[in-house]
């Protein structure tokens, strides 16, 4: 760890005069599992394709293991890709698919046999060498695509939404397998997904992208618990975004007015007196009750509805200004609330996250 494996310096990619990727700086360490996360069209796949060499950056530099590669053809780069659609060669059997990269590098027949067998074993499809890709299930094809990439011992493995086409259960299973595989092989993984849960589950670090720019880079926990921007807070998991005017600023704290009530928020560079501020509070950090809780922030509103969603119960409370806050409560500690009740929504101030605008 610590060695820079992939570096992007001021990388921009234009398609038809729009910046799909806009001035990105990113250092990816050797051996880490890094996820590029964002909605479709945010530039994550384009970024991946530039690292693979399928697209050339309009400006900026890409370094691979310290060497500048942005003009290098894809077949000369020590990276391999697992494609979204698997892209297995339909006219070759599984063995030849996996052996393809080694054959291109003129590796000896015996070594090819040994390495292909090992790679197929690693993805638990040792017996399937003679099958055609078409004869395999989606999950099996996915594993072959992974075997075909890792058999070349790449420095970096690029994965473009590789689990997108699988059903939920298989996807969960493959997420863990991929994570274990990455730890076993100690290869740098760059993983592209729009699925935030997948990103949180698998990654060492997550890069959240939006509209061609990086919104935040951090550990999964930081991304979830300390989102920096409104976009990140909104995109990762569910949250309550509360907007209000800053009425006072002290040393460590500040006061914000929301729906006629004062909220104490942490002081931060992102707020200024008499200006709008945004905070995010996760629904599971909130409680709802008929009387104010002690030692916490309390907002008074009226009960709207409760929705049972299995793992938790969602409670929706309407604020005097008409905005709604959502609370996730575990089933054991829910007070009976009815439509006529005044409800206090409360949370610990340390769970308040101040967002950039």
């Amino acid at each position: 760890m610590g060695v820079q494996m992939v570096q992007l310096e001021h990388v921009t990619k234009e398609f038809d005069e729009t910046n799909v990727v806009n001035d990105i700086n990113l250092d990816i360490r050797a051996g880490e599992f890094l996820t590029l996360l964002g909605p479709s069209g945010c530039g994550k796949t384009t970024t991946l394709r530039m690292i693979a060499g399928f697209e050339k950056p309009t400006s900026g530099k890409i370094l691979l293991n310290g060497k500048q590669v942005d003009d290098m053809e894809p077949y000369k780069r020590e990276v391999n890709t697992v494609f979204q659609s698997y892209s297995l060669f339909p006219h070759m059997n599984v063995y030849d698919n996996v052996a393809f990269g080694l054959k291109m590098k003129k590796v000896s027949k015996d070594e090819i046999r040994e390495r292909v067998t090992k790679a197929l074993k690693l993805v638990q499809l040792k017996e399937y060498g003679n099958r055609k890709p078409k004869q395999l299930s989606g999950g099996q094809q996915q594993r072959i695509a992974i075997a075909r990439a890792i058999v070349n011992n790449p420095k970096v493995l690029l994965l473009d939404e590789p689990l997108g086409a699988l059903d939920l259960k298989l996807r969960k299973q493959m997420q863990l397998e991929l994570k274990h595989l990455q730890q076993t092989l100690d290869i740098t993984f760059i993983y592209v997904t729009h699925d935030q849960e997948e990103a949180l589950t698998m990654s060492d670090r997550i890069v959240v992208m939006n509209k061609g720019k990086i919104e935040q880079i951090g550990l999964p926990r930081e991304i979830y618990e300390k989102p920096v921007t409104r976009f990140v807070a909104d995109f990762i998991g569910q949250t309550n975004i509360i907007e209000g005017k800053v009425t006072a600023i002290n040393d460590d704290t500040a006061t914000m007015e929301f729906s006629g009530q004062a909220i104490e928020i942490p002081n931060s560079q992102d707020i200024a007196l008499n200006e709008e501020a945004f905070i995010s509070v996760r629904p599971e950090k909130m409680k709802a009750g008929t009387v104010p809780f002690e030692g916490t922030i309390n907002l008074k509103g009226t009960f709207k509805e409760r929705i049972y969603v299995g793992s938790v119960t969602k409670i929706v409370v309407t604020m005097p200004n008409g905005e709604e806050l959502t609370i996730h409560e575990s089933h054991d500690n829910i007070e009976e609330l009815t439509n006529t009740n005044d409800v206090y929504v409360s949370w610990n101030p340390k769970n308040t996250v101040v967002l950039k605008k």
Partner: protein, 262 residues
């Protein structure tokens, strides 16, 4: 479910179509064994014409010419047509739509126009006609078919396969021969066969652009039937039918066995 009456009508109709197609061919085959020199009356069974046809040097010569032209045409058209299809599939350039349109024109333009145009050019260039002067015309009318067939095949080609190949270390050349070509090969083969049969069958352009002494099979047969349908023409037709039948049968059998290559 189809109603029984509809079924009956459809069946009779199909039968009629088949009879319409195959009865003339059946007659040709039967009369190739006819003893009479005049093609119209049955006088008795003979294999005499099957012997004499192989001694007819004119006929053999014309057959060789036809095959020669078809092979040359197929090679040129298949290579150029495939390259054109690849270019049109892969690249976007200014005027692409017009270029594509230009490739459709030879399919609908009458052969006679191509023939006359070529003749005019040859006249202008003061070229003497021979066997090879028919090649440009044959290529011109077959190249579009090859291109269209290969283009159709390419439309179902997943471009990420080429990226996958390059990602795995194959350069452009290796990518083409290891991945792209094997996958479009059925289209290329179909285009080549189409070009071959069109060239073999081609009459108008050959008639106009061949030299005086050079005949292809259709041109020779045309000159032969002007003096009445001789039994030798029937024999020739029967042999061609037999060969085509065997070819189609074998290809069909192989395709069923191998399944679709894709």
């Amino acid at each position: 479910m189809m109603r029984p009456r509809t079924k009956k009508i459809l069946f009779s109709f199909s039968l009629l179509v088949f009879l319409f197609f195959y009865i003339p061919i059946l007659f040709v085959i039967i009369f190739s064994f006819n003893d009479s020199k005049l093609g119209t009356v049955w006088t008795g069974f003979t294999l005499e014409w099957y012997g004499s046809i192989f001694k007819n040097s004119q006929l053999i010569n014309a057959t060789m010419n036809s095959i020669y032209l078809a092979v040359i045409t197929t090679i040129i058209s298949t290579i150029l047509g495939t390259l054109a299809a690849l270019a049109l599939h892969r690249y976007t350039f200014i005027g692409k739509k017009s270029v594509e349109f230009l490739f459709y024109i030879p399919v609908v333009i009458p052969d006679i126009v191509v023939a006359v145009a070529l003749l005019a050019i040859y006249g202008l260039l003061n070229m003497s006609l021979g066997l090879n002067t028919a090649v440009p015309g044959h290529v011109a009318i077959t190249i579009s078919y090859v291109m269209l067939v290969v283009l159709a095949r390419l439309s179902s080609f997943d471009n990420s396969l080429e990226e996958a190949a390059k990602d795995l270390g194959a350069n452009e050349w290796q990518t083409f021969w290891k991945v792209t070509f094997p996958l479009i090969f059925p289209g290329v083969l179909a285009g080549a066969l189409l070009a071959f049969t069109i060239s073999l069958d081609e009459f108008v352009i050959s008639f106009f652009t061949l030299g005086p002494g050079d005949n292809t099979l259709p041109v020779l047969v045309y000159s032969m039937v002007r003096l009445g349908v001789s039994p030798e023409v029937n024999v020739l037709s029967t042999i061609i039918i037999a060969i085509m039948f065997i070819v189609v049968f074998v290809v069909g059998l192989r395709m069923r066995k191998g399944g679709d290559v894709k």
